[in-house]
């Protein structure tokens, strides 16, 4: 894959790449916070008051942010599990959401590598305000919906020869 073809037009992620990314996400939601999520819809989610939005930036063959929107109970569940604390401080929800976004993005990036994309991931940051445009996916869970917006694009490979 070409990593420095900045003059070329970016291309939105293909359906197979999005599918592979989401499969890993569903698997690790189950193992990380015990949440069975079901992909419910593609659309344009909005961050609500009881949610925490976290974004991480991809660079390399895949560029742009992935933005996660977690209900607070799911973020707190990670804290509960990591700290073995049945009643974690509600203020730690942001730390939980940040770490969950970190884990899911890190693991799901395997799906990008499996398809030949070499990319690096930036440090998670809390996202405030309107969500960016991109492929928006809602996953329903018993604790409320998890939204993810894939705003990444790929740089087309340079033909050999």
């Amino acid at each position: 894959m070409a990593a420095d073809s900045s003059s070329e037009l970016p291309v939105m992620l293909g359906a197979d790449v999005v599918d592979g990314f989401l499969k890993v996400v569903l698997r690790y939601l189950r193992t990380t916070v015990g949440v069975d999520a079901v992909i419910a819809s593609l659309g344009a989610p909005t961050a609500e008051s009881q949610t925490i939005a976290v974004a991480l930036d991809f660079s390399g063959d895949v560029r742009g942010p992935v933005t996660w929107v977690f209900p607070r109970p799911i973020a707190l569940e990670l804290v509960r599990r990591l700290m073995s604390d049945p009643d974690p401080d509600p203020d730690s929800a942001t730390d939980g959401a940040t770490e969950l976004a970190n884990i899911l993005t890190g693991r799901a990036s395997e799906a990008l590598e499996d398809r030949g994309f070499h990319c690096a991931i930036g440090v998670p940051r809390v996202h405030v305000g309107e969500l960016p445009s991109g492929v928006a996916v809602r996953m329903d869970t018993a604790n409320g919906p998890i939204d993810v917006v894939l705003s990444m694009s790929t740089v087309p490979a340079v033909p050999l020869g």
Partner: protein, 151 residues
């Protein structure tokens, strides 16, 4: 008591690692939330083990591990990260990292890895009374080893 340094930008991960290292018998002598402080902390404390995240503000953990192990080949580094791409794992492996814990990991798995890392380090470092004398050929059993093997 063996000592450890935790390097991870997540406060909850640091708290989790602190517990697991304590269970494995380590005393945590320093913590950092970014990769920039690791070399100074290592030189100050010379710990028996360093846990390193990869995605952190400042320098990423893979490049820190490479520099640390180039300067201190005996450093005992355990990567604790969610980054599982072959590329990053290969960078760490080539740098000399022996242990790679992928988040989310079970507490028992982490404790087992920390204990194994310590046991390996203890085996690698000869006890003072077992260090070979300069007049012995390399690999020759020392007096105490000879005793142990019944020679």
């Amino acid at each position: 008591m063996p000592s450890a340094i935790i390097v991870d930008d997540s406060p909850i991960m640091r708290a989790q690692l602190r517990k697991q290292l304590a269970t494995a018998g380590f005393s945590v002598v320093a913590e950092a939330g970014n990769g920039d402080e690791v070399m100074a902390l290592y030189e100050l404390h010379r710990p028996d083990l360093v846990t390193l995240d990869i995605l952190m503000p400042g320098r990423d953990g893979a490049s820190v591990a490479a520099e640390l192990l180039a300067r201190y080949p005996g450093a005992n580094v355990v990567m604790c990260t969610s980054v599982s791409t072959r590329e990053k794992i290969e960078i760490c492996r080539k740098a000399g990292v022996k242990y790679y814990l992928l988040k989310p990991f079970r507490a028992e798995a982490a404790v087992a890895v920390f204990r194994r890392a310590l046991a390996k380090r203890t085996c690698m470092l000869p006890r003072f009374d077992e260090a070979p004398r300069f007049d012995e050929p390399p690999g020759a059993p020392t007096a105490s080893q000879g005793d142990r093997y019944g020679r």
